[in-house]
Symmetry: C2
Subunit: 909 residues, 2 copies
C-alpha cells in the first residue's frame, strides 16, 4: 500500500484539516481548514512532510511522488480551467514551504511558476497586460534563480537598476547614484514593457552564465526543481539556526504547497495584504494590518513600498482598504472573525484581491509580543473563547522577560531624535553597529549593541540574535525585522524613515522634518530605542523597570490555583527582596551572604579575617563583621515578614576576597599593618589550580568553624531582633557544597551551639531550619544519608552541572558552543537543565531524600530555577519549589503553573 503523499484542497472541499499540521505543515493544514470552512482560497495541493523526510534521507523523491504531483496538477487544471504550460491559457502556480511550525526565516517561496518565453505571451493575453506578464516572468526568474539555482540574489539587482536608470533618463529625472534611492524614485510599477523584456533577457543570460544551462522552459521541470529546492531549504543554515533558536526538531521536514496563482498586481482593482486579527504588539482587540494596491505579497513584507492601513484611520485619507475596497474589506472582516473563533487564537492572515475577488492565501496563529500574548489570552477568557487554564498555557513564559525589560524613565527629560513603528516592545540602550557581523563581534566581547539596518533580511538573523535591539529605516510592523525581533524578544523600532543609513561610511543620519540632518549616529555611538513607543534617542537614556500590567496580574492570579510548586527568589538585599515580593515570590530561596562582604568597610574586616594567623585573630576580625551581617539579615527578615528566607553560609574560596595585583596588595599590606611579603604569601598560599573544586563551601566551615559560627550568630540575632519588633521570621540556614553527612553533623554542632547561646541570652527561641545545597554528584547520590541532618535540600544546579559534566562554565566558551551547534548537547546546560545527566542526579536525590525524610522540602536555586523547560522537569520529579532571580519570578510562576497543568491535565496543550 502506498502512502498518500499529496493532499488537495479547494473551497468547501479539502482532503486535509487543521489538526494535520504534522503531515501537511501549518500552512497546508490551515489552507485545507479554510477551504473546508468555505473561505475562498485558491485551489491547490500540499506535498506532505513525510515526502520531504523521505527525500532528505534518500536524496531522491519517494516513489510515486512525481506521479501524484502530475495527477494533482491535472486536477488543478480542471478546477481552474487553465492548463500548465499552455501557451493560450496558462496555469501558473506558487510553490511555498510550510513546516509544522511557522518558520518565517526560511522564506523559500517561488511564485508565477509555469512561465516561459511562450506561456508569458499567453499570460499577457489572459491578463490583457503584457507589462503584468513580463513583470511576473522577471519575478519568477529572480526567485527561481535565487531559490532553485542558488544564484546570488544581488546579481539580479543590476539589470533592474539599468532599467530604472533608463526610465529615469527617459523621464528626465535626476539619476541618484545609489540603487536604493533609485528604487524609490523609480518603483517597479513605473517600469515599462520594453524595460521588463530587457530585464527578462538579462536574467536568462545570468542564469545561463551561472549554471551553464538555460532557464528550464518545461513547467513540469520547473515544478520538480522548485519542490526539490523547497525540500532542500529545510537544511539551509538560516533555517537550521531558526530551528535551534525555536527548538524545532531537525527531523520534522517541511511540506510544500502548490497553489494556483492569484494576482494582487493585476491593476487597481487588485491588491495584496497581511493582517492580524488583533494588535500583535499590544494585544488590543482590533483588526490590524497593511495592504498595497496592485502588488504581490512579497512587496508588503519586503518593505520596499510603504504599505497602507487596512482600517479607516482618524486622519482618513482614503488610503485604507476599508475606504478603497469596502466590499472586500467587509468580507475580510467576516472571515477574520470566523477564523478567530475556529482557531481560538489571534490569526496572522495573508490575502490577495484579484480584480475585486478576495482570496485568503494563509492563516496561522499570529506571532505576537509577550505583552500581546498575555492580553490576548486573558481577553479571550473574558470573551468565553478560552478557559483560564488554557490562557495560562497560551503564554510562552520564556518570552515574558520582554515585559520585564526596562522602559524609558518617564521622569527623564529627553526628547526623541526620531520615531518609527513600535515593532517589538522594551527600551534598550547599546552601541550602534551597522552590520550583523559587527553586532556579533561586539556582543562576543560582551558589549551591548543595537543593530541598525535599512531593513533586515534572513542573512541578518545571527546579528539580530547578538544585538540587544534592532532599529530599521524601512518596513512596517510586519516587516522581517519586526516579526523576527518579536519572536526573539528583542526590542525593535522599525521603519524609522527619518533615518538614512550609509553602510559604506559606517554611520547614519537622522533627518529632521525640514529634511536637514539633525543628528549623526556613528559606528559605536550609544543610542537608545524604545520598542514600545517606537522612539529613538541619542546616547544612554535612563530607564525604569517595567510593570506587569493588569492582564499579567490577572494571569498570575490564575496560576496560583493550579501551581503545585512555589516560586521563590534569589535575593541578597532588602531591595532585591522587595522586588521579588512585588513579582509574587513566595520567599527567598537563596541569599548569598558573600555578596554582603564586598563593600569597602566590610572587605577590610574580611581581609583581616583571612590574613589572621590564628583562630583568636580570626575571631577578632569576624567580630567586626558580625554587626554588619546581623543588620543585613534583619533587613531581609523585615521585608519578608515570616516568609521563608534561605541563607547560604559563606561559599566562595577565600582568595576571592584578596587583591591580586601588586598595587592593591601593597595597599592592603599598609592598611593591615603587615608586610607586603605576608600578604603575597597568603595570596600564594590560597592560590588554587581549580578553585571551583577547591577550599570553599562547607569546607571553609569545617576548617575555620568560627566563620559559620559568626554567620549563624548574625542570622539568629537578626531573627530574634525582628521577632522582637513584632514580625514573624522563618530563617533557613543552608550549608553549601556538602557531600557527606559528616560535614552536616559538624556544621549542625556549630549551629546548635551558637543557637543555644543566642536563645539563652535572648530568653526566647526562634524556629529555624538547617539544610544543605546539593551541588555535587556525591551529595545527590547520598541524599538519603544527608537527610539525617538536612531538613531541606536545595539543588545548586549551576555547580551540579559543572561537576556532573566536568565543564567549568568560565572556560566553556572554547568548546560548549560547538557542542550545542553540532547537537552533541541539545541545549546549553547552563541555561536549560541537562535532564538526562544532571536531572538524573536530582531525581535520584529527591527519591532517596524523600524516603529518608518524608517531610523534607526540595528546591532548585540554580539559574535553571527561572528556565521554563527546566521548571517543567522540576515539576515532573516533584520538587517543592524553584528559586530564581526576582526578575524571572513571573516567568517561573507561569512556567510552574503550566508544568502543573501539563502534568495533571494531559488534555491541555
Amino acid at each position: 500500500m502506498t502512502r498518500k503523499l499529496v493532499y488537495r484542497f479547494e473551497p468547501d472541499k479539502a482532503e486535509g484539516r487543521a489538526e494535520w499540521k504534522e503531515l501537511l505543515g501549518g500552512k497546508g493544514a490551515n489552507l485545507a481548514e479554510m477551504a473546508n470552512m468555505g473561505i475562498p482560497v485558491p485551489p491547490g495541493f500540499t506535498i506532505t512532510t513525510e515526502a520531504c523526510v523521505d527525500y532528505l534521507r534518500a536524496s531522491e523523491f519517494p516513489e510515486g511522488l512525481l506521479d501524484s504531483i502530475g495527477e494533482s496538477l491535472r486536477w488543478l487544471e480542471q478546477r481552474t480551467r487553465r492548463e500548465f504550460g499552455s501557451v493560450s491559457n496558462p496555469l501558473l502556480v506558487s510553490v511555498r514551504s510550510g513546516a509544522r511550525s511557522s518558520m518565517p526565516g526560511m522564506m523559500d517561496t517561488i511564485l508565477d511558476l509555469g512561465l516561459n518565453d511562450e506561456t508569458v505571451v499567453g499570460l499577457a493575453k489572459q491578463s490583457q497586460s503584457e507589462r503584468f506578464a513580463f513583470d511576473a516572468y522577471r519575478r519568477l526568474l529572480t526567485m527561481f534563480g535565487d531559490v532553485v539555482l542558488g544564484i546570488d540574489r544581488e546579481l539580479f539587482d543590476g539589470p533592474l537598476s539599468v532599467a530604472r536608470r533608463s526610465v529615469a533618463r527617459q523621464k528626465r529625472l535626476s539619476v541618484p547614484d545609489d540603487d536604493e534611492t533609485l528604487a524609490r524614485a523609480v518603483p517597479d510599477s513605473v517600469l515599462g514593457v520594453a524595460e521588463l523584456k530587457q530585464v527578462v533577457q538579462e536574467y536568462k543570460r545570468i542564469i545561463l552564465q551561472h549554471t551553464g544551462k538555460p532557464f528550464p522552459k518545461d513547467p513540469y521541470a520547473q515544478l520538480e526543481a522548485a519542490v526539490r529546492a523547497v525540500f532542500d531549504s529545510w537544511k539551509n543554515p538560516r533555517a537550521k539556526l531558526y530551528r535551534k533558536m525555536h527548538d524545532i526538531p531537525e527531523e520534522w521536514g517541511t511540506a510544500v504547497n502548490v497553489q494556483a496563482m492569484v494576482f494582487g498586481n493585476l491593476g487597481e482593482t487588485s491588491a495584496t495584504g497581511v493582517a492580524f486579527t488583533r494588535d500583535p504588539s499590544s494585544g488590543e482587540r482590533r483588526f490590524f494590518g497593511e495592504w498595497l494596491p496592485n502588488a504581490q505579497g512579497e512587496d508588503v513584507v519586503a518593505g520596499i513600498r510603504t504599505p497602507r492601513p487596512l482600517a479607516r484611520t482618524s486622519e482618513s485619507d482614503g488610503l485604507s482598504l476599508e475606504e478603497a475596497m469596502p466590499d472586500s474589506y467587509a468580507e475580510l472582516m467576516r472571515i477574520q472573525s470566523k477564523l478567530e473563533h475556529r482557531f481560538r487564537d489571534m490569526q496572522d492572515i495573508e490575502f490577495t484581491i484579484e480584480a475585486g475577488q478576495l482570496f485568503l492565501l494563509q492563516t496561522r496563529n499570529g506571532k505576537r509580543s509577550a505583552r500581546a500574548s498575555v492580553r490576548i489570552a486573558v481577553d479571550m477568557v473574558e470573551e468565553g473563547l478560552l478557559h483560564p487554564d488554557e490562557a495560562i498555557l497560551r503564554v510562552d513564559p520564556e518570552r515574558l522577560s520582554e515585559l520585564l525589560f526596562p522602559a524609558i524613565d518617564p521622569a527623564a527629560s529627553v526628547s526623541a531624535v526620531g520615531r518609527g513603528i513600535a515593532a517589538s516592545p522594551g527600551a534598550v540602550c547599546g552601541k550602534a553597529v551597522f552590520s550583523a557581523e559587527d553586532a556579533e563581534a561586539y556582543a562576543g566581547r560582551g558589549e551591548a549593541v543595537i543593530l541598525v539596518r535599512i531593513e533586515t533580511s534572513p542573512e541578518d538573523l545571527h546579528g539580530m540574535k547578538a544585538a540587544r535591539g534592532i532599529l530599521t529605516a524601512r518596513g512596517g510592523a510586519t516587516s522581517h525585522a519586526a516579526v523576527v525581533a518579536r519572536g526573539m524578544g528583542r526590542p525593535c523600532v522599525a521603519g524609522c524613515s527619518a533615518l538614512h543609513v550609509d553602510y559604506q561610511a559606517g554611520q547614519a543620519f537622522v533627518h529632521g522634518a525640514s529634511g536637514d540632518i539633525i543628528a549623526t549616529i556613528k559606528h559605536g555611538d550609544s543610542i537608545t530605542i524604545d520598542g514600545s513607543s517606537g522612539r529613538v534617542y541619542l546616547g544612554q537614556v535612563p530607564t525604569v523597570d517595567a510593570k506587569l500590567g493588569p492582564e499579567m496580574e490577572t494571569l498570575l492570579k490564575w496560576t496560583e490555583r493550579v501551581s503545585r510548586m512555589r516560586v521563590r527568589a534569589n535575593a541578597d538585599t532588602p531591595e532585591q527582596a522587595e522586588k521579588a515580593l512585588s513579582f509574587g515570590a513566595y520567599g527567598i530561596g537563596l541569599c548569598r551572604t558573600e555578596h554582603m562582604f564586598f563593600n569597602d568597610e566590610r572587605i577590610a574586616a574580611v581581609r583581616e579575617m583571612i590574613l589572621a594567623r590564628d583562630t583568636v585573630a580570626r575571631e577578632k576580625a569576624l567580630a567586626k563583621l558580625l554587626p554588619f551581617q546581623t543588620e543585613d539579615f534583619a533587613g531581609l527578615f523585615r521585608v519578608m515578614r515570616g516568609r521563608p528566607v534561605n541563607i547560604r553560609l559563606l561559599d566562595p574560596p577565600l582568595h576571592e576576597f584578596l587583591p591580586h595585583d601588586k598595587r592593591q596588595i601593597a595597599d592592603l599590606a599598609a592598611t593591615m599593618g603587615v608586610s607586603v611579603a605576608d600578604v603575597e604569601r597568603k595570596v600564594a598560599e590560597l592560590y588554587e589550580f581549580n578553585p571551583m573544586l577547591g577550599h570553599r563551601g562547607v569546607r571553609l566551615g569545617i576548617t575555620f568553624k568560627e566563620i559559620p559560627a559568626m554567620q549563624v550568630r548574625a542570622i539568629l540575632e537578626a531573627a530574634c531582633t525582628v521577632r522582637n519588633e513584632g514580625h514573624e521570621v522563618l530563617p533557613e540556614i543552608m550549608i553549601p557544597l556538602a557531600f557527606s553527612v559528616g560535614e552536616l553533623r559538624a556544621m549542625r554542632a556549630i549551629i546548635d551551639e551558637v543557637a543555644a547561646d543566642v536563645f539563652k541570652k535572648r530568653g526566647f527561641e526562634v524556629h529555624f531550619k538547617v539544610g544543605t545545597m546539593i551541588e555535587l554528584p556525591r551529595a545527590a547520590l547520598l541524599a538519603d544519608q544527608l537527610a539525617e541532618q538536612a531538613e531541606f535540600f536545595s539543588f545548586g544546579t549551576n555547580d551540579l552541572t559543572q561537576t556532573t559534566l566536568g565543564i567549568s562554565r568560565d572556560d566553556s566558551g572554547s568548546f560548549l558552543p560547538v557542542y550545542v551547534e553540532r547537537g552533541i548537547l541539545r541545549d546549553d546546560p547552563f541555561v536549560t537543565l541537562d535532564t538526562e545527566g544532571v536531572g538524573e542526579l536530582v531525581r535520584i536525590a529527591v527519591e532517596k531524600g524523600r524516603i529518608a525524610r518524608p517531610e523534607a522540602h526540595f528546591g532548585v536555586c540554580g539559574e535553571h530555577g527561572g528556565d521554563p523547560k527546566s521548571i517543567e522537569f522540576c515539576e515532573a520529579i516533584g520538587l517543592n519549589y524553584v528559586s530564581c532571580s526576582p526578575f524571572r519570578v513571573p516567568i517561573a510562576r507561569v512556567a510552574a503553573a503550566q508544568a502543573s497543568l501539563r502534568r495533571t491535565r494531559k488534555y491541555w496543550r
Copy 2:
C-alpha cells in the same frame, strides 16, 4: 539475665577459646586456648570487650563487673594459694590490655599490682629477696603513675638517676653526665635495696605531689583504677592513630587480662623472653627470639639491655637459652611447634621462666615483613598446614609493595658506614632527621626522610609514618622500631650500635671498630639504609628494582586459578610495558599518549601545532608528530605481542604544552619564528580558570579533529607494521572525558575514516576496538547511551573522584587531611575508592552499560586499580579488569585473587 563479663583460665581448664577474640580480645582468647592445650600459663581471668564498650559508653563500670572481678580474684587466690593484699603471702597480678586485634602501640600494662608498703614486706619474705620486692614495688609505682595516674614517665627517671649516681660513687666509677650512659654503666640490677627503697619513697612523693593523693595502698582500689585506665587507654591518641592506620574500628574496645604474676627477675634461674616461631623478616622456618636472664618482659622489648639469642649460634658463647636453660628451651620448642599447628600461622610468643619453671604469657599471630608473609604462607602450603587459597588470603597485598622496593645496586661500589639489625626489608634513601616532628614537617614538603632515633616509642609513631625509613641505634628485631616499621612496610635498620645520636646537636656520629668517629650525619644529610641487610650508607646509594622471589612467583601462579578479574598495567613506554609483563600484567590498560609529547624534538612540533593559525598549519605540525607516535605505538605492540594495548587519545588541555615564563616564551617565539606577542596571546587565550574542567579530552578532538586523526593514524599504522613483522596486535582506542554518545559518534567517524584509509593503503585490516573512559558523572549515568558507540569502558576513577566529590586533588591539601582525620571521609578518596559516591556511579554505569551492550568489557585505570580495598569493590560490581602502575601489578593480582575468593567462597578469611 546478666551477661558474663569475666572469663577465667588456668592450665587444662579455661572458660574461653581462641575463636572468641571478639569477646575476650586476642590476648585473652589465646591465653584461654593455651590453657586448654595444657600449656603452662599463669592462671588469671579476662574482662570482656563488652564490659569495656559499656564502660566507654556510660563512663562507668557495667553493673556486676566489680562483683565478678572480686569473685574471680578469690578464685585466683585459691588457685595460687596466695592472698590479694596479704602481708604474709601476697598475690600480685598483672593487668594487660588485649583488643580483638593486636595493637602493640598501646602498651598499657601494669605489673606487680597488689604491692604497697605492707605487702612489699610479704613479697620480700616470699621471694627471699628484699631487693627483688622493692624493685617490683618501684616498677609498679612507675607504671601505675604513668598509666593510671597520667604522670609524665620521665619524672620517674630522676630518682633512678640519683640512685645510679649514688651507686656509681660508691663503686668509684666515673659518673657520666647523661642518664643514658649512666643507665648502661649502672644497670638496674646493680641498684641495692637501700637505693630502691629511696627510689620508692621518692616515687610515692611524686605521686602525692602530682595527684594530691597518696598512692592507693588498697590492692582492690589499685586493680579497679588499673582496669579503668586500661579501658580508657582505648581512647588515647596513639591508640586512635594506630587504629586509623590499621583500619581497626573504634567501636571494638579492649579486653583486660588480669593474671597472677610470675617473675623472670627472681634471680639467675629466672628469665624472660620473646620469640617468633619463624623468622619474621625472611619467613625462614627457624625458631627465632631473644631472652634476658633475671629480667621482666618489658626489659626485652624496651631495648635497654641487649637481649641474647634463644638458640645456640655458630659462635657459641653460652649466652643462648638453649645452652643456659636446656630443659626450659626444650619445653619451649615443643610448645612453639604445638602452637603453630594449632593456629596454623607463625606465632609471636612471650614467656617467663620463674625459678626454672616455664610460663607462656602470650601467643599471637606474629607480625612479619611482606616477604616473610609470602614465604610463610607458601611454606605452610607445602607443609600441609594451608590450602593454596588460604595462603593467598594470608598475604596483605598492600604490604607487598615492600617486596618491590628497590635494593642496593649490587654493582655499586659502596661500603657501609655501619650495620644494624635488618629489621624491615627494603633499601631507601632520604634526608636524616632526628625527631618525629621534623620527619613530619619534611614529608609534608614532599621530601624523603629517614627518621634516625636512639630508639623509638609510641610517641614517634606519626614521624615513623611520615618517614621513608627508620634507623635506630638501640633495640633488636623485636624492638618497637622493628615491629612498627614492619607493620608499616617501612624499611628499618634497628640497633645500629655504632651510631651515637645527639638530639641536642641535631647530628649523629658513627663510631668505627676502634671507637673513633668515622662519620658524622648532620640534620638534613642524605643517607641510605638497607632494611634487608641492616647496612647503613652515607649519601644516596644507587638502587635496583626488587625481584619477586620464588615464593612470590608461586603465590602469584596460584592466584591465576582463582582470579575472575584480569590485571593490566598503565604503561606509556616499551620499558614500562616490559616491566609490567615481568610482573604478570595481562595487557596495557592505559597508555597516556601525551607523555610521548614532551621530549625536545617532539615538543617543538606540538607547540607548532598549538600555535597554528588554521587547520592546514595544524595538520602540517601534526604530520611531524606522526612518525614519532607511530614508532611509540609500534614499540608497545612489539612488547605486548597480541595482548590488549589500550591507548588513550590526547587528554590534557593544550596549555600544558606551552611555556609560561617570559624567557621560555621568548625562546619559543624565536624558534617558531613568530612574535612574542603572538605566543603570549596564545598562552593567554588558552588560560583556564579550572583546567580540570576545561578544554581537554574528547573536547579537543571535537574542536580539532586533526589531532585524533593523527593519533589514530599512528596507532593503526603501527599496528599494521607490527602485524607485518609477524606479531599479533590488539589495539584499543580510548576516548577520554566523554559524557555523551554524540561525542563518541563524532570521534568514531574520524576513527573509521582514518582506519579505512590506512587499511586501504596497506591492503589488509587489523582488528581494533573503540571505547571510552568514564571519568565524569554524566558519562556514568548515561553509560547505556554511550554503549551504542563504546566497545569498552574504562573508569578513570581519579577524575571521576574529582568531579563526583568536587575536589581538585591538587588543591585538596588544605582540607582533605582534616576530612580524613575527623572521619568525615573514611579514607583518602584518591587512594581508596569512595565506594558510596564514586563507586555508586561506577556500579550504575556497569549495570546500564552491560544491559545495553552485554559483550562490552569494563575496567578501572585510575590509581585505585592498584589499591586492594578498591579492587575488592571492583570484583563485587563485576568489572573485567583493573589496571595499575607496573609496580603494583603483583599487589593487584593478589588483591584480585583474594577478592574473587572472598566473593565466591565465603568460608575463607
